[in-house]
Amino acid sequence: MSADLTVETTLIRQAAAVLDEASSNFAAGGQASICPLLHDGSLGRSAVAREVAGAATRRVEQALEAARLLADHARDAAIGLRAAAAAFEVAESLAIAPPR
């Protein structure tokens, strides 16, 4: 099955630039220094206090990792969009060339 495809490469490139900005935002979120903010016993000796100290440290590390992963996704998508725009432009230039 085929479908008509309409593209505007200028807009695709603009979208790619916005994705780059998104990637930068995510990357900044993933760059916080992880020092031991809470250690075992920070919040008391009870089981729940130890659970919170351990989980809080782990979850903030995981949040940073989530931000880094999203940065990678957005960056990859931007690269893909630019490559697609370039390919569309090549295809368009070929399509309007006069027949030999």
């Binding site: 593209v7 916005v18 903010l37 009870s46 989980a55 949040a63 893909g80 969009l81 569309f88």
Partner: protein, 567 residues
């Protein structure tokens, strides 16, 4: 202690403690210290770091949203927009999860601060009231009260202080419990579900050729994308070679490990052969199989079995590992848990399970059950194996070492040698190895992270030798002096967290009859043997409430682990 002047006076605190203990009350000063020691500033700093990341997630998601109308106008295919929208949604979902934790942390911080302020006020008020009675802080409070007919008001003041501080501790605990629940969600979960864009080649391939998709499926993201297929390639190759071995011991082990791998896969899990060392005529070999993908695991539990096991029969250990993994993932649905069945030490009495070794080796293997030598050698091996597991697992993964019977001695020995673990669990333990005296002797592991579970009916845990306790437990301890397996980890002196769950099998007892002759020791010995057979079984420790408690430790839900004082 932070930010408290009342207790620093030096004289009042000990006097109140002494009075409370004399009156049979909990020590209010200990309660106050617990409240005042909580590092609320540390929690606020954590809040600040998490909040910065949360803000960036929102900003990033917001920019992704800005790209959507551009894509809709620039590309008639919906696929690129859907890809970006999915990333935006993941960012927002992650943002929301962190937001819930931040909100709970904010409330918990405020409540902890309130409780600290109120505790300080209560202490000051009690001190003023006692001094107001005419008590000079240099004198012992209760003695002064008796001599000056002030017992009733002093009792009232100390009791009131204890009660009010107890209430504050309850409030503080409740605030932390709410925060603990909010922290049980992994902010990476929404992100791990989104497919990777296939790279620069994907979109152009989808464009001019007329196809409508701008993305490719790709592999899952996060951690080691090689999954379980490469980390154990060398071990699998060795296993394959051993399956053609003409050495009966080598072949028997290979067949056992192959069966274990098959069982792990059949359970619907990724199975990874993390350790594989061939058996020979003088060795039972070493093997470790992960049930679940260690490369993406949030929690990694390593299980060490007890005597009379060997890689030949490790399929049985896979059932235990699968049960613990299922329970862990039931308790923490957002976390991935890998459970490693570790048959990595020279387990005594393995010949019982059909390990084909020579008579001399079999004899040495049997006598090894009489002390902790094999466990300590195995502990060193476990230290290095766990270090290798860490290299494969995500950096944030929690590691727990769990051992049953002599396996508990082995994991304890590993902890004593500095194994890189977050928690240690000793089940049905004959002793914590002669390398430690108490739970405070583990380098890098707090005593609060050492757990012990010993059923009262389990004779192996009574301190006699692993091999003979069942036969002689009924007539008292063997005359061997200190246990050859080290201290009882479930004892009060050891000071571990003692798990409070009951045996999952009913008690069975017999009374032997010898006609008119008195039954001196026969019934006692028979009952000890029955207890050994019934209660000291690995499945008995890995089932019911005990399994839930072990799984709670595995996923770090300490507040769900029932504990009791040591025996």
């Amino acid at each position: 202690m932070t930010g408290n002047s009342t207790l620093d006076t030096g004289l009042v605190g000990p006097a109140i403690t002494q009075a409370a203990l004399t009156f049979g009350l909990p020590d209010p000063i200990t309660i106050a210290e617990e409240l005042l020691d909580a590092d609320v500033d540390g929690l606020r700093e954590w809040f600040a770091v998490a909040a910065r990341t949360q803000l960036r997630l929102w900003q990033g998601a917001d920019r992704l949203a800005d790209a959507l109308p551009l894509l809709a106008g620039g590309w008639s295919s919906r696929a690129p927009s859907l890809t970006v929208a999915r990333q935006r949604d993941a960012g927002l979902a992650s943002h929301r999860l962190i937001g819930s934790a931040l909100s709970a942390a904010d409330q918990a911080s405020a409540e902890l601060r309130r409780c600290q302020a109120l505790a300080d006020t209560e202490l000051s008020a009690a001190r003023s009231a006692l001094v107001g009675l005419g008590w000079p802080p240099g004198l012992q409070l209760t003695t002064w009260a008796v001599l000056n007919d002030q017992v009733v008001p002093v009792t009232s003041i100390v009791t009131g202080l204890t009660n009010r501080l107890g209430e504050l501790r309850v409030r503080s605990t409740q605030a932390l419990q709410t925060l603990a629940l909010a922290l049980r969600a992994d902010p990476r979960d929404p992100v791990q579900d989104i497919p990777r864009v296939g790279g620069p080649a994907a979109m152009p391939a989808a464009g001019p050729a007329g196809a409508s998709s701008a993305t490719s499926g790709g592999t899952s993201i996060g951690g080691n994308t090689t999954g379980g297929n490469t980390i154990d390639q060398a071990n699998l190759a060795s296993l394959t070679a051993d399956l053609h071995s003409t050495n009966v011991a080598t072949l028997a082990m290979a067949l056992g490990v192959e069966a274990a791998l098959e069982r792990a896969r059949t359970a619907g899990s990724v199975a990874q052969l993390l350790v594989y060392e061939s058996a020979g005529s003088g060795s039972q070999g070493r093997a470790a199989i992960s049930v679940g993908d260690i490369t993406t695991a949030d929690n990694v539990a390593t299980l060490a079995p007890g005597i009379s096991n060997a890689p030949v029969n490790m399929a049985e250990g896979i059932s235990t590992a699968a049960a613990l993994r299922d329970e862990s993932e039931r308790l923490a649905p957002g976390d991935a848990t890998a459970v490693v069945a570790w048959y990595g030490y020279d387990m005594p009495l393995s010949a019982i399970r059909g390990v084909p070794v020579g008579p001399l080796a079999a004899a040495a293997n049997a006598t090894a059950a009489l002390d902790d030598d094999n466990a300590r050698v195995g502990g060193a091996l476990l230290v290095s194996d766990i270090a290798r597991f860490h290299q494969w697992a995500p950096a944030t993964a929690r590691f727990v070492a769990i051992g049953f019977s002599m396996g508990s001695t082995t994991v304890s020995a590993a902890a004593a040698m500095g194994a890189d673990i977050d928690d240690l669990v000793m089940l049905g333990s004959p002793g914590a190895s002669t390398d430690v005296r108490t739970a405070h002797d583990y380098p890098g592991l707090s005593a609060r992270h050492a757990f012990a579970l010993a059923y009262d009916q389990d004779p192996i845990t009574l301190g006699s030798t692993d091999l003979l306790a069942g036969m002689f437990g009924g007539i008292g301890r063997l005359p061997t002096g200190p246990s050859p397996f080290g201290p009882d980890p479930a004892s009060r002196d050891f000071d571990a967290q003692v798990i409070a769950t009951e045996s999952n099998v009913p008690d069975v007892s017999v009374k032997l009859s010898f006609g008119p002759l008195p039954d001196l020791f026969g019934s006692a010995i028979a009952n000890e043997v029955l207890d050994l057979a019934a209660h000291h079984q690995e499945p008995n420790y890995y089932s019911g409430a005990s399994l839930s408690a072990i799984a709670s430790v595995t996923v770090g839900h300490y507040s769900d682990v029932p504990t009791k004082p040591g025996r």
